[in-house]
């Protein structure tokens, strides 16, 4: 007479302990997942994970031999033919990707992480831009960047770049010999060194608010080093205008020295009779000297300089004396103890 379905046999009834246990299990599972999320996100926050920066896109530079039909939208990393470099001014080693060259930078004026400059250097205004020439020079003057660039057609130089942190790149620069500019500026016979200074504007360079180094960033060369044909002032790379994070609009490139010598975003060229007080030498003179010649024999006090990782490679390679430019520059240092040239 009952319309109800038959009761399930008592053997099928879930015991109360199991029933409650299941609820407990679900609750604990949820708490465990919550804890995991908290621990995981806390760790990621402390380790500081950010998505990689966007690869910048700069307008192409008209090199000495501009191509007849230049595509309007130059794809990222495309190489424009420039003056065919020869001998030590080029290398057939594989180029480091434009992405790596433009997102892995030490430019502390825009932050201390390697990817900070690519994120933050958008605030740098590269026009109008002037360069002040002063010190031991016949005619101190202030030159507009475009005037200066008009004096010297860009040449392509493919150089190895060896960072003091034991990594390296191969970069196709566009630029002109610093020596050509120096000849034109006519330093006096008192000028034994040239000092190059980076812009020091906290409004454009957020990293300047932190006193990690003595600002402005100053680097310098002995006059014969500055006049050496390998030494260039770069205005572009990969056939394009220098990305801001690479030191736009004008930066030094001295391929046989550690990368920190290559002062970026130059606003002052000063000729001096005495050796300039350079930024990294002031910060730690036992670790970063004035000469900073690449030397696998002289270790940094805290790490070896014998090998380097070429960015993009998995393994390490041996570091060469003078970064492979010994044949061209070793005689600049004849009679000097190479151990003191770090």
């Amino acid at each position: 007479m009952s319309t109800l379905p038959p009761e399930p046999p008592s053997s099928e009834i879930t015991p109360e302990s199991v029933y409650l246990g299941r609820r407990e299990f679900l609750k604990n599972g949820a708490l465990a997942v919550g804890t995991a999320a908290l621990v995981g996100s806390g760790l990621m926050l402390l380790v500081g994970q950010k998505p990689p920066p966007d690869v910048p896109d700069s307008p192409p530079i008209a090199a000495v031999n501009p191509p007849a039909a230049q595509p309007a939208a130059n794809p990222s990393g495309a190489l424009l033919p420039a003056v065919a470099a020869t001998g030590p001014f080029t290398t057939d080693e594989p180029l480091t990707s434009f992405e790596s060259v433009s997102t892995y930078n030490n430019f502390y004026e825009f932050g201390l992480d390697k990817d900070s400059p690519a994120r933050q250097a958008g605030t740098l205004l590269t026009r109008p831009w002037t360069i002040t020439v002063e010190g031991e020079v016949a005619k101190p003057q202030t030159i507009d960047i475009d005037t200066l660039l008009g004096w010297f057609p860009p040449e392509e130089r493919i150089y190895r770049m060896r960072c003091v942190e034991a990594w390296s790149m191969v970069i196709p620069w566009l630029g002109f010999p610093l020596g050509d500019l120096i000849k034109r500026l006519e330093p006096t016979s008192n000028a034994k060194f040239v000092e190059l200074v980076t812009l020091n504007d906290p409004k454009q360079m957020p990293g300047l608010k932190r006193p990690v180094l003595e600002w402005p960033y100053v680097e310098g060369l002995r006059m014969d080093e500055a006049m050496h044909p390998l030494t260039i002032l770069a205005t572009g790379l990969y056939g394009k205008v220098l990305p801001n994070q690479n030191g736009a609009p004008l930066r030094l490139v001295v391929p046989w020295k550690y990368g920190f010598k290559n002062v970026k975003s130059i606003v002052t060229i000063r000729f001096t009779a005495v050796q300039p007080k350079t930024t990294w030498a002031l910060a730690a003179s036992n670790e970063y000297g004035f000469y900073a010649n690449v030397n696998p024999e002289v270790s940094h006090p805290r790490w070896s300089q014998a090998t380097e990782r070429r960015i993009g490679d998995l393994g390490r390679r041996k570091t060469l004396p003078f970064n492979g430019y010994a044949e061209q520059v070793a005689d600049l240092y004849a009679g000097m103890d190479p151990k003191t040239l770090y």
Partner: protein, 238 residues
């Protein structure tokens, strides 16, 4: 005064004793309180490793992926080491018991990440070039202290079981595990000597470690001043 039993460091044996106590819920097989804590911690601890592996496959570890991997693994190891060292002071200061329950796991996680950090340096960074590695460890102070910190963690990881506490005796076990502080200090020095110029991050961890050490010293001094008669007097009589 905080000299109740609660304020003393938990002996690993005691945790299991608490676990056997009956729970109000009718679930007799119920294990330790907060049964979700350890699984949650361990699951969460895998996130940085999973993230590294994922980004390695995506190629989004930046231009120098090996350096990035080494740095991240090392930092996670240091975070776990400092967290493990904070458990006992947290109990003293706030009366929290739960951190001590995961102290062993925190220590083992620190050790695991430190081993990974070292292995990536040996295999990926140096290509198992043993000559260079030995030279690095012997000649570069920052690598020497980092390696020493890892070596000190080995006996601690090996004696992390409750059985080891029984075999060694609680006193000797505790003394041995004080090495974790030495390892922590060495790890911070390793970090300080490694960075090029910006010391802010290593100094944050150094300060936390220093504060934890000071808390221990303060509690140790207080304990000593509260029970001097027994200790000193007893020795005098003997």
């Amino acid at each position: 005064m905080v000299t109740t039993d609660e304020s003393l460091p938990a002996r690993p044996g005691e945790v299991t004793r608490a676990a056997v106590q009956p729970v109000s819920r009718p679930s007799p097989q119920r294990a330790a309180p907060l049964p979700w804590l350890k699984p949650g911690l361990i699951l969460g601890s895998l996130v940085p490793l999973a993230s590294i592996i994922l980004r390695a496959f995506q190629g989004s570890l930046g231009a120098n992926p090996i350096a990035e991997i080494i740095n991240e693994l090392g930092l996670v190891a240091l975070i776990f080491l400092v967290a493990g060292l904070a458990c006992t002071p947290a109990r003293w200061l706030f009366g929290w018991a739960w951190p001590v329950r995961i102290r062993r796991e925190l220590g083992l996680l620190a050790f695991s990440y430190a081993v990974l950090h070292f292995l990536v340096y040996v295999v990926l960074d140096q290509g198992v070039d043993l000559g260079t590695i030995v030279e690095d460890i012997a000649q570069r102070p920052f690598i020497t202290v980092g390696f020493l910190a890892l070596v000190l963690l080995v006996p601690l990881a090996l004696t992390s079981t409750s059985g080891s506490v029984r075999r060694l005796g609680f006193k000797r076990w505790t003394l041995l595990h004080k090495l974790s502080y030495v390892a922590g200090v060495l790890a911070v020095i390793h970090f300080i000597w490694r960075v090029k110029i910006d010391l802010s991050q290593p100094l944050v961890y150094g300060s936390i470690l220093g504060a934890l050490l000071l808390i221990r010293v303060a509690f140790w001094l207080r304990k000593r001043s509260e029970t001097p008669a027994a200790a000193v007097g007893g020795r005098r009589k003997a």
